[in-house]
């Protein structure tokens, strides 16, 4: 038995803060009258802001990585920046959610508190340094999400989506746990560092078991990401969930999932690089293909964006698989996922803004003539769509450029060409949205309907859309951040 070492608690201050605030807000919310619910919302948002600031000070305070809590917890640049992203994106997601859930009589207090717990889960994921904490974070992240989807009690689609997500999620968890247990059987450790060292020694005797463990763990990760072949839940859940939740699911958790992928594949299993690289090549090609091709056939824009998210995950994986052989593969992948999250959040937000109490306007058809109805909103959507398609001068271009550069450097030129080919297929359905918005007149049923936004939402969506352009013109800051975090 090792001697007990006092953990450095200060490393986990943001997590402790968010946890205690979540509990306090839960209590406060019980005593609030329905019309004072805004207090809950404000408290949740300020928690995020303060947590952001605390994490920011940590960035300066701990220049070199710290592993503590008996090797279960780490604070490095990757963890800090992932958390900062998560706070920012969640902050925006909650702004967009506020009016949406109020209109639909979704319990607004619980909604934000659940959201806060999910954020806590993502924080734990970002800092997790053993399979135990990784698993803990993952579950803490997804359980509140199941609830948030089901909170729209009057919507059958939401209940179905929640159920589907839960069952599929449980399966993924099972796979992941099985992989972890195999790995533990071989190495006798669940810590990232320990596994990394022990695997090197065990490599010769038990390679088969380790590859088996890797396959199960990868299956779990791919499931969480929503990439082919474990992508089936994505379209159903994205479409069925209330748009504000879809927005949340499609954004922040992806960044956290990226962080644990980095920990597991790159830090824990460098010995198996060749194996996971091959798997990821197949997964990314299939994801780009299936995502982009299936998206073309969709008439529901939420479902279309769900398939598009599968394709984008495929692109992100390209960066990870090119990482071992290139100087900037990992950072390009992180840049890609970070910018995708910004863009996806904006796109779902616009869907949420357009829908109103009576009807969900999530058909592609409903976007006809948006430019006539509200030019600014249409312009924001235009920027977001072109960014997803990867057309300069939007940020999507630099995201793709970074990936391609890494692929070419890693001598995967054919993969780069393939990725671009799929990007062209993808461009078609993004262009179609623009086509509906700009080239056609509004449907008579919605032509007169006013699009109402609170000033906060207007500001948020403007920042979000313009960010897609500004980051495309001046991408250096974000690229450097990503490089630092995976250095």
């Amino acid at each position: 038995m090792n001697q007990f070492i006092m953990p450095i608690f200060s490393v986990a201050i943001p997590e402790m803060f968010v946890l205690s605030m979540a509990c306090i807000i839960l209590l406060v919310d019980v005593f609030l009258k329905e019309r004072h619910r805004i207090v809950t919302y404000i408290l949740v948002q300020s928690t995020l802001v303060i947590a952001f600031l605390i994490t920011l000070t940590q960035y300066r305070e701990y220049p070199s990585p710290i592993v503590t809590f008996s090797g279960n917890y780490v604070l490095d640049k990757l963890a800090v920046l992932t958390k900062l992203f998560v706070f920012t994106v969640s902050f925006f997601a909650f702004i967009y959610a506020r009016n949406y859930i109020k209109d639909r009589n979704i319990a607004s207090g619980e909604y934000f508190i659940m959201g806060l717990f999910a954020v806590l889960g993502m924080q734990v994921m970002a800092s997790a340094y053993s399979f135990l904490t990784i698993f803990l974070g993952l579950e803490l992240n997804t359980l509140p999400l199941y609830t948030m989807i089901a909170m729209w009690k009057t919507s059958r689609a939401s209940t179905e989506a929640s159920m589907k997500y839960f069952v599929m999620g449980a399966l993924a968890t099972g796979l992941l746990l099985y992989g972890i247990s195999l790995l533990y059987g071989v190495t006798g450790s669940i810590e990232i560092l320990g596994i990394s060292n022990l695997m090197q020694q065990a490599m010769n005797q038990q390679q088969l078991v380790m590859v088996l463990a890797l396959v199960f763990i990868l299956a779990g990760i791919i499931f969480k990401f929503g990439a082919v072949p474990f992508h089936m839940w994505v379209p159903d859940v994205y479409q069925g969930a209330p748009t504000s939740v879809t927005l949340f699911i499609s954004s922040a958790p992806k960044i956290a999932a990226f962080a644990i992928t980095m920990r597991i594949l790159v830090e824990a299993m460098p010995t198996l690089t060749v194996s996971w690289q091959q798997v990821l090549i197949a997964v990314s090609i299939l994801s780009m293909f299936a995502g982009n091709v299936m998206a073309i056939a969709q008439t529901n824009i939420k479902r279309m964006l769900a398939y598009s998210s599968i394709a984008h995950i495929g692109y992100t994986l390209l960066g990870i698989l090119a990482g071992p052989h290139s100087s900037q593969g990992y950072s390009a992948a992180m840049f890609y996922i970070a910018t995708y999250v910004i863009v996806a959040a904006g796109a779902f937000a616009i869907i949420a803004i357009l829908s109103n109490k009576e009807i969900e306007l999530d058909k592609l058809d409903d976007y006809r003539g948006l430019n006539t109805r509200n030019p600014w909103l249409a312009f924001m959507m235009l920027l977001l769509m072109f960014s997803m398609a990867g057309v300069p001068p939007t940020v999507g271009f630099f995201a793709k450029l970074g990936l391609l550069e890494a692929l070419v450097e890693a001598h995967f030129v054919w993969l780069a060409a393939l990725a671009l080919l799929f990007a062209i297929i993808g461009a078609y359905y993004y262009l179609r949205v623009v086509m509906y918005m700009y080239f056609e007149e509004p449907k008579s049923s919605v032509a007169g309907a006013k699009i109402s936004m609170s000033p906060g939402v207007l500001a948020a969506i403007s920042v979000n859309g313009i960010a897609a352009l500004i980051l495309g013109l001046l991408p250096s800051g974000l690229i450097d951040m990503c490089r630092i975090s995976v250095a």
Partner: protein, 508 residues
């Protein structure tokens, strides 16, 4: 002035934002005035650009260089040599025409229309001025968005199809170029185009790069067989959009061949030049024949554009054949210069004709562009008919007009190398005359065809201004091309030096 190029690029973009801020169609006139002022200012700024340019030097001038994305060594680097100077002035000239035409013809969503065209203008200047490969690519792709919108928003019936086809076609073309650029970056660790020139690459790698670039530029030119987007895009685009497409966007492809393909992969270019020559000849003859049977005026001019661009590509890639046969630089030089002149002269001729079709269609009751709907227009619109005759003649290549100079130079030099190639190319003189003049006869001559033609008004002062400007361009280039050639001399000579494989370079 050290930031003259930046001002030229970004002034239209700022103008576009200002125009957009005027909002809906209530303030359409303010948007019109803003865009006209910006376009005029931009054209005036070309004067110091021209005067400050040292035409005896082939070096990049008016250079600007800032590190843009340090992670990938991407620079915001601008500069002009003779060819890009000529193209930038042409862009600004055409930009003004298009804005003026738009003021007159566009009635809905005026501010957005003006903004789209201004942004396009800025991006296009950026393409010609960029000396960093990624910056070039950003501008190259950046102009797709406004062009896509302008075809789709103000085009005619089948506009959605045409605009998406246009976008996907050009997008498909450019992606392989991006991979080629990344490959070159991995060889040199910079994106500076000049640094790519000196690379000694293996022949088979050069061939890959050649085809990657070929796809990007051939789609833009467009060359046979990847030309099919152009007739659609041209026909459906509003007349301003057609003018930009014909006068400027097609030139980007040729410019790409000159800036990337020939100097970066000289050995492969020399080896594969026959493909380019063959495709150019097909474009000249086959597309010329197709143009004859068109019933839609815009389609006819679109096909004639493809045929004329065939001349420009022929002029570029004949240089290898010419040097192989004659052993001297002199004729190769003329061929290349002829290609550049052809780019400029085609802008005047076809731009003016596209404007003309727009003018006719605007006045016709159902905006028809079919030749059979018109007839005897000269009786109703005499001034217009006179101007149109001039531009039709330039399109045919009548001596004294702009169209003659480039074609003559290319054919003359081609004769030095290969009789039959020159002979086939010369067939354009007959083909162009037949499709252009036959169309002219059917539309303008004869008795007034119907009551719809009967009521058509002659052109107004804005349109006359436009046409006077274009006519000036046609005559200037046709009668006294010396100032343009002067600017080109040093640059073309240097380009030729760089574009010849080492084995050929010793000829002199």
């Amino acid at each position: 002035m050290h930031s003259l190029l930046s001002i030229l690029i970004w002034l239209p973009v700022v103008g576009a934002v200002l125009a957009l801020m005027t909002g809906g169609d209530k303030n359409a006139n303010i948007a019109r005035v803003i865009s006209c002022l910006v376009a005029i200012a931009n054209l005036l700024l070309c004067i110091p650009l021209y005067l400050g340019f040292d035409s005896s030097s082939y070096a990049m001038q008016f250079r600007e260089d800032h590190l843009w994305v340090p992670a990938y060594q991407i620079h915001y680097a601008l500069g002009v040599d003779g060819i890009s100077l000529a193209m930038i002035i042409l862009t600004n000239f055409t930009g003004l025409l298009v804005i003026l035409a738009g003021c007159n013809a566009i009635k809905i969503k005026v501010s957005q229309n003006m903004a789209a065209f201004l942004i396009m203008q800025g991006m296009m200047i950026g393409v010609f001025a960029a000396t960093d490969a990624i910056l070039f690519y950003v501008f190259w792709e950046g102009m797709l968005i406004p062009m896509y919108l302008s075809i789709g928003m103000w085009g005619s019936t089948n506009r959605s199809y045409a605009s998406i086809k246009f976008f996907l076609y050009t997008f498909l073309g450019s992606i392989l170029m991006l991979i080629a650029l990344l490959y070159l970056y991995n060889q040199t660790t910079v994106f500076e185009i000049q640094k790519f020139y000196g690379l000694k690459l293996d022949l088979h790698i050069q061939k890959f790069l050649f085809f990657a670039f070929f796809l990007a530029f051939a789609v833009k030119v467009p060359m046979f067989p990847v030309h099919t987007w152009l007739p659609d895009a041209h026909t459906e685009a509003p007349s301003g959009g057609s003018v930009v497409l014909a006068a400027l966007m097609l030139k980007l492809g040729i410019y790409g061949f000159l800036r990337f393909t020939m100097p970066i992969v000289p050995e492969a270019s020399a080896e594969l030049a026959w493909i380019m020559v063959l495709l150019s000849l097909i474009a000249i003859v086959y597309i010329g024949l197709i143009a004859i049977v068109q019933t839609d005026m815009k389609k006819l001019i679109a096909y004639s554009s493809i045929a004329h661009m065939g001349f420009a590509t022929l002029g570029c890639f004949m240089v290898y054949e010419i040097i192989r046969h004659t052993g001297t630089y002199r004729d190769a030089y003329m061929s290349l210069e002829g290609a550049v002149i052809q780019m400029i002269s085609h802008a005047f001729g076809s731009g003016a004709m596209f404007l003309g079709v727009g003018i006719m269609a605007d006045r016709y009751f159902n905006h028809s562009r079919l030749i059979k709907d018109y007839g005897g227009l000269a009786n109703r619109m005499p001034i217009f008919a006179a101007f149109f005759m001039l531009f039709a003649m330039s399109n045919v290549g009548l001596p004294g007009t702009a169209g003659f100079v480039g074609e003559f130079m290319v054919i003359m030099s081609a004769f030095q190398a290969h009789f039959w190639i020159a002979f086939i190319a010369s067939s354009t003189l007959i083909l162009a005359a037949s499709y252009t003049l036959w169309m002219y006869k059917r539309v303008f001559f004869g008795p007034v065809k119907s009551e719809h033609v009967e009521v058509m008004q002659d052109i107004n002062w804005i349109e006359i201004t436009n046409y006077i400007l274009l006519a000036a361009g046609v005559f200037f280039l046709g009668l006294y091309p010396e100032p343009v050639l002067n600017v080109l001399h040093a640059t073309v000579g240097h380009l030729l030096d760089q574009s010849l494989p080492a084995a050929m370079g010793e000829v002199k």
